[in-house]
């Protein structure tokens, strides 16, 4: 009787404890963690297994458990750079930025071409409010990667501009390099367009739009964007021409695309712009 009550109380306690837990590893992850825990109990301090289990914890957002595993792996083998890097990532995600930076510096001192460590270092520097120091990190990542991600080019450009608002030309040069290496990626092309507009380079901005449009079946929005660039530059007459070209492109769309809400909204927007910007008040000469 007494045993049975204890059993049920213990079962209830276990169930309640489970209900209150944060999301835990599931399915195969959970099984892997259980298996690794058993192996670690048999070989205490095995860095390989600690690293492996820490990664599982980290992927499930259990940063505290991940930290303990990476720390244990590192204290058993101070040359275990993967553990140091992962500890740095945990520290970053726990907002312990100075600790993260120190660990990343140690990793990069031992492995200067470790791209993941360098990407993380740039990230931590930005989060630490030190954008100027992040820029050379991005340069290095781009130089060392066989195929850098579009994100790296974007981040470098945005960091440059955050650091120095007049650096748009240098930022643009970097984005241009990205387009050369990765192809006509719209995330980079659109950013380049933004930079041209920021630099007041109207014709260059228009050329960017033309380059983006070249590969597209639907041009109406890009023609409208050409109009906006021209309007902002005071070239009202040219802007009107572009808005009219955009309307014509809308008219040429197949009916199923022409009568959508988005197309109708664009048409209204264009008609409104044409109405409030009558022809003839161009402030600077047409090209």
């Amino acid at each position: 009787m007494r045993l049975s009550r204890t059993f049920w109380l213990a079962t209830l306690a276990c169930l309640l404890a489970r209900v209150g837990q944060p999301a835990q590893a599931h399915g195969p992850d959970h099984e892997v963690i259980v298996a690794l825990t058993a192996e670690i109990a048999r070989n205490p301090g095995d860095p390989e297994r600690l690293l492996h289990r820490g990664e599982r914890y980290r992927s499930h957002g259990d940063l505290a458990s991940a930290r303990l595993d990476f720390q244990a792996a590192l204290s058993n083998n101070p040359a275990c750079h993967p553990a140091r890097l992962r500890l740095a990532l945990v520290a970053r995600d726990q907002e312990k930025l100075p600790e993260s930076l120190q660990l990343l510096d140690q990793t990069l001192a031992a492995q200067p071409t470790n791209l993941l460590a360098r990407v993380a270092r740039a990230d931590v520097l930005i989060r630490s409010g030190r954008p100027g120091e992040a820029i050379p990190e991005y340069d290095r990542i781009i130089a060392d990667s066989p195929q850098p991600r579009p994100d790296v080019f974007l981040s470098r450009s945005r960091t440059l501009l955050a650091h120095d608002t007049n650096a748009w030309a240098r930022a643009l040069e970097g984005v241009e390099d990205g387009i050369r290496r990765l192809g006509p990626v719209p995330s980079l092309q659109l950013h380049a367009l933004e930079l041209e507009e920021r630099g007041g380079r109207v014709d260059a901005a228009l050329a960017r739009i033309d380059a983006i449009m070249a590969g597209m079946d639907r041009r109406e929005r890009w023609l409208a964007r050409r109009g906006d660039v021209l309007l902002a530059a005071g070239r009202t007459r040219d802007a009107r021409t572009e808005y009219q070209r955009s309307l014509a492109a809308l008219d040429r769309l197949p009916e199923r695309l022409r009568r959508t809400i988005a197309s109708e909204e664009l048409r209204q927007e264009l008609e409104a712009k044409l109405a409030v910007n009558p022809s003839g008040n161009q402030t600077s000469p047409s090209r």
């Binding site: 944060p22 999301a23 599931h26 399915g27 195969p28 992850d29 099984e31 892997v32 990664e55 980290r58 992927s59 499930h60 957002g61 259990d62 995600d93 791209l115 993941l116 990407v119 990667s145 066989p146 195929q147 991600r149 579009p150 994100d151 080019f153 974007l154 990205g178 990765l182 192809g183 006509p184 990626v185 719209p186 995330s187 980079l188 659109l190 950013h191 983006i212 590969g215 597209m216 079946d217 639907r218 929005r221 197949p254 199923r256 695309l257 022409r258 009568r259 959508t260 809400i261 988005a262 197309s263």
Partner: protein, 435 residues
């Protein structure tokens, strides 16, 4: 006596050396098909020893005499066949040296090129989520689809992530993908997305690891859509469908990141009738993962929901396919539900019906990829195991702790979607029709 033995041994040795089958390279993996366009196809395979790889191909097994190779001597063979006609069946064999073919030329080794983009014709798509358990469950789910595939083959198939448990190593891919799906791999191109388990040994920032080594994915919009500049996320067209693959695991998921900017532009440029997006982390799940818990999967489900669903819905997305939870969860026809499950409003449910023609009718949408006309979100992560959960997300019309995979049949402006079980069961079905 001793001379006779020497003679026979020498003869045996010469026989062994002369036999093409015995010292030729052995096929270890594949062939499998990648990067299909209306005029080209990439054929990949692996051999046990290094060699120069050849593909021979033609319009019939007898006329498969065109020949193309890669340069250099490799074990990982990647050969692109060019100069093909759209929507045409080609027969092929792979080999490593002239006249030494390691696959037969027979109907089983053939593929059909995609039609001209925009063409309206019947299309079949198979989608599997979290399949890679290398278990009987996985084989049963596959066998159920193979029955349907025999009657009408899939034009392409999608892997929704966690393709090879438990860490996405090359050996695990061999066991859970190449050994399990060999017959469909050589007939229909596969399009994968990265899951968390694949990412234990693969990195999107450096595009490295088995996942990126195994798959050849478009970075320049070669298969339709706009250039993404990375294999981590991409788009492609097939007939009148635009497919978008996002990396919910290992690429920045912020609103002003490169993936979001690319997606906006890609969808704005789309002129196909259907938009189908796929990625690993489900926006609405109460299965083995909980999309309301911000600590679950380090917040990836919430980030995809908050940052990418608005872009997808603005781009007129029709279907969003995910995995991660090992269950089947199918939403209502939804629009604008970007918060926790507690923030679901009746106005966000554009159609609370079943979508079944024989019950209360199909889901109806306007054509032309008009924004915010409603999308169906499906978590189909039970193609290798079913792991339960509370399965009570209010955005979902149906939640099942059952094994299975998705079969999409799209013809013109009608899409019929079925969730098939592990022993031939039809577990769910619905239809979307566009006007």
């Amino acid at each position: 006596m001793s001379n006779r033995w020497t003679f026979w041994l020498a003869a045996l040795w010469l026989g062994v050396m002369a036999s093409p089958g015995l010292h030729a390279q052995k096929l270890v993996r594949g062939p499998y098909l990648q990067l299909p366009t209306q005029n080209s196809m990439v054929v990949r395979w692996r051999t046990d020893k290094e060699a120069k790889g050849y593909v021979r191909w033609g319009l019939s097994p007898e006329s498969a005499t065109n020949r193309v190779s890669h340069s250099g001597s490799l074990t990982e063979h990647v050969v692109q066949i060019r100069g093909l006609q759209p929507n045409t069946r080609y027969y092929y064999a792979v080999g490593t040296e002239t006249n030494r073919w390691i696959t037969p030329v027979e109907p089983d080794y053939s593929f059909i090129t995609p039609p001209k983009p925009g063409t309206s014709q019947p299309v079949r798509v198979w989608a599997i989520g979290d399949p890679g358990t290398a278990s009987t469950n996985q084989a049963n789910v596959r066998n159920t689809f193979y029955e349907l595939h025999r009657q009408r083959p899939a034009d392409l198939w999608l892997m929704l992530g966690d393709n090879a448990y438990s860490s996405g190593t090359d050996a695990q891919y061999q066991r859970a993908v190449f050994s399990v799906y060999s017959s469909i791999l050589r007939q229909s191109p596969v399009w994968p997305t990265l899951g968390n388990h694949d990412a234990y040994h693969a990195d999107s920032p450096t595009l490295s690891g088995p996942y990126y080594d195994i798959f050849t994915l478009p970075t320049l919009g070669q298969c339709g859509g706009l250039a993404s500049g990375t294999e981590a996320y991409y788009s492609f067209d097939f007939a009148n469908i635009h497919f978008v693959c996002l990396d919910s695991e290992d690429t920045e998921r912020n609103r002003d990141g490169a993936m979001a900017a690319w997606l906006r532009a890609d969808l704005a440029a789309n002129t196909r009738d259907w938009v189908i997006a796929f990625f690993h982390h489900p926006p609405y799940t109460k299965g083995s993962h909980d999309s309301d818990k911000l600590s679950d999967s380090a917040g990836r489900m919430a980030e995809m929901r908050e940052n990418f669903l608005p872009i997808l819905e603005s781009g007129g997305v029709d279907l969003v396919l995910t995995g991660h939870s090992h269950s089947y969860e199918r939403s209502y026809l939804l629009n604008g539900h970007y918060g926790l499950s507690s923030t679901l409003q009746p106005s966000m449910i554009l159609n609370a019906g079943s979508g079944r023609l024989d019950l209360d009718g199909s889901f109806r949408k306007d054509g032309g990829n008009a924004p915010h006309q409603g999308a169906i979100y499906i978590c189909a992560g039970s193609s290798g195991q079913a792991s339960g959960g509370r399965l009570n997300h209010p955005a979902n019309w149906l939640s099942l702790n059952k094994l299975g995979s998705l079969v999409l049949d799209i013809d013109g402006l009608r899409a019929d979607i079925r969730f098939m079980g592990d022993h031939g069961q039809l577990r769910d079905y619905f239809t979307i029709e566009k006007r």
